[in-house]
């Protein structure tokens, strides 16, 4: 009977140690995942900042003007019923 109790207590002690180690390891994994998450969030935020700036139509317009692009001053609509050129 005593032997059984000692074995049981020993098993419980071993199980407790294993669980404690496992819990500590999982805690470390969690901490690592959280750090990774923070890094990704930071990167994501930086990418969003870049996207916000890059998709600004006002900036695009400035770049286009600096590149010498200009808006057409006159729009000509062609009537499809009237040929612009024909063969004789």
């Amino acid at each position: 009977m005593t032997k059984k109790i000692i074995i049981l207590v020993s098993l419980l002690a071993v199980a407790t140690v294993i669980l404690a180690i496992d819990s500590s390891a999982k805690g470390a994994v969690l901490a690592s995942l959280e750090n990774e998450s923070v890094t990704l969030e930071k990167e994501n935020r930086q990418l969003k900042d870049d996207l916000v700036s890059a998709t600004s139509l006002t900036n695009t317009q400035k770049i286009a003007e600096e590149a010498g692009l200009i808006k057409p001053e006159k729009i000509i609509y062609l009537n499809i019923l009237e040929p612009v050129a024909s063969l004789q």
Partner: protein, 567 residues
């Protein structure tokens, strides 16, 4: 030997007793205190950020976004330089305008010289780039804390529509004016909190206690605003203000079938990212907050009402149009003092004949006019989803005298906001049915999206009456006083309006508000647009200021919206 064993046993006994006593002291008597100390060491808590939602244009592009900003602070105990040296080094990064540099140096120096302060916030909302530059200088005692930065990538574009984010009484972010103000609660979200036990290395103890309140981010708002049209409207308005020497002005473009506001520009404007550098007068959106006497752009509403009521037909002849109309002690004249006896109702609109409109008003009667104007939404809030809408109201039914009826018939003595005006003209463009103007189209959060459906109101006039007044407005645009600037072939239905500005009970002789309101193509309108310029200097007449500006914007809209000319 036996004595030694006894002595050793006794020593063990004493030691054990001492150990038990000591353990009793720490485990029982001091247990609560130690547990508290342990909790303080092991338990840590932190805020879970809930960034403010973005405001997006109809194409998903950013109009307002929450980006990463920084608070620059000084930890007084770690600072080694003197306050003046440090202020001279930091201040240039805190101001854009070199003329403000000296004042900024003084401000930072004052802050750093404060006695009794340990942690001193020096500058809020500093951008990433600036932070990196300051960091590279390795200034001892200068640190950074992350904070949200509200960014408006299109600068002052649609500023009065968007509003801005300031602080409330408790120092928390709060939206003011426009979309930021109207949807502040939805955009704000709610911060969360995480508290749990960790070991000495900061690794969470999973078996320990933890408490987490999840953060709920602010929703994104997808608006109807079309960036391209908005930019066209802003650019043309600024050019128009300069060209015609106007004091201020506005442009509103709406889809008449849905009530969607696709562009809303006003000048003068401001940069919402730096709202504090502008006066309060800039923040108000004149399109929804300011009222004005509409003048002749009001005539289509009165004529449409009379057509719908059967009071007149398009070819009904005006039998008082041969000269000025005498109303009480007043004489009502035409704008150019030219009179056309027996003008038809179409002529009255085409030539913007005030006397003809008095004739129409008399046929309709004050009570019926009041009822129709109410159905057109005049004197009522439009319900637009922007903070700051005003309603000038109209005289109560039954209190209108003959002068009120006569002047209201041609848009004088009655006040409207620009948004009320464009919604009312939108009724004509939408076959007689009123729509509620709407800025936000969809609300989105983490893949979930909710569509805000267009809000259709009641039928105001019959389709027949809408078609008749549209035909009149097409002729008014192509044959009226603004015909010189009209673009042919697109079927524009429009009307000019030059209104005098009431000042202290009388009308100012020189100051006017010139407007042009219209829609195109007349048979299947893709947009309805209102353009107004206040106090133009080059000419008091709308036909020479607001009308050419309207057509220059429309010219670009035709290309952008793929509207082809009929001929």
């Amino acid at each position: 030997m036996r004595g030694r064993i006894k002595l050793l046993g006794f020593a063990f006994l004493i030691s054990s007793a001492a150990l038990i006593v000591r353990l009793f002291f720490w485990q029982i008597i001091k247990s609560q205190e130690l547990a508290n100390w342990a909790r303080l060491q092991q338990t840590s808590g932190r805020q879970l950020q809930a960034p403010r939602g973005n405001i997006l244009a109809s194409d998903g592009g950013f109009l307002a976004a929450t980006t990463q900003g920084w608070l620059v602070y000084a930890s007084k105990s770690d600072v080694v330089s003197d306050a003046k040296t440090l202020a001279n080094k930091l201040a240039p990064f805190f101001v854009d305008d070199p003329s403000l540099l000296l004042a900024e140096v003084a401000r930072v120096q004052d802050l750093l010289s404060e006695n009794g302060s340990v942690w001193i916030p020096l500058k809020h909302r500093v951008e990433d780039e600036t932070k990196s530059t300051i960091e590279a200088m390795n200034l001892a005692g200068i640190g950074f804390e992350p904070e949200d930065l509200r960014s408006y990538p299109e600068a002052s574009i649609a500023a009065q529509v968007l509003g801005f984010v300031g602080k409330d009484d408790e120092g928390l972010d709060k939206g003011y004016f426009g979309v930021e103000g109207y949807y502040d609660l939805e955009l704000s979200g709610k911060e969360g909190f995480l508290q749990r036990e960790s070991d000495a290395r900061g690794i969470p103890i999973l078996s320990g206690t933890s408490r987490e309140i999840s953060a709920v981010g602010g929703v994104d708002l997808l608006t109807h605003l079309d960036k391209t049209i908005q930019l066209i409207a802003e650019k043309k308005l600024t050019d128009g203000i300069e060209k015609y020497g106007a004091k201020s002005g506005w442009v509103v473009v709406m889809n008449p079938k849905t009530g969607a506001i696709v562009a809303m520009a006003a000048w003068p404007s401001y940069d919402p990212a730096e709202y504090w550098t502008f006066g309060n007068d800039y923040f108000k959106n004149p399109v929804i907050s300011d009222s004005f006497e509409p003048g002749s752009i009001f005539k289509p509403l009165v004529m449409a009402s009379a057509l719908d009521a059967g009071a007149v037909e398009p070819d009904t002849k005006c039998d008082i149009c041969g000269g000025p109309a005498k109303i009480d002690k007043y004489s009502i004249e035409t704008w150019n003092k030219e009179y056309r006896p027996d003008s038809t109702m179409t002529d009255v609109i085409v030539h913007s004949d005030n006397v003809g409109m008095v004739f129409v008003g008399n046929r309709l009667g004050a009570d019926r006019l009041y009822d129709y104007l109410s159905k057109f939404g005049i004197g009522q809030m439009t319900g637009i989803d922007l903070q700051g809408e005003a309603n000038p109201g109209i005289r109560e039914k039954g209190t209108w005298n003959i002068v009120d009826l006569a002047t209201a018939s041609f848009g004088q003595g009655i006040a409207v906001t620009p948004i009320q005006m464009i919604r009312a003209i939108g009724v004509i463009a939408n076959d007689g049915v009123i729509m509620e103007p709407q800025v936000v189209d969809k609300i989105a959060l983490d893949g979930w999206q909710s569509d805000i459906k267009p809000l259709a109101g009641e039928r105001v006039i019959s389709k027949k009456a809408a078609d008749e007044i549209t035909a009149m407005m097409v002729l008014a645009a192509s044959e009226g006083e603004a015909k010189w600037t009209a673009i042919g072939g697109f079927g524009v239905a429009g009307k000019t309006g030059t209104a005098q500005i009431p000042v202290k009970g009388h009308y100012d002789e020189d100051k006017t508000i010139g407007s042009f309101v219209g829609f195109a193509p007349a048979n299947d309108p893709k947009f309805v647009m209102l353009v107004s310029l206040t106090e133009p200097q080059s000419s008091p007449w709308a036909s020479e200021t607001a009308a050419p500006l309207w057509f220059s914007i429309a010219n670009e809209l035709f290309v952008y919206l793929g509207i082809q000319p009929k001929s």
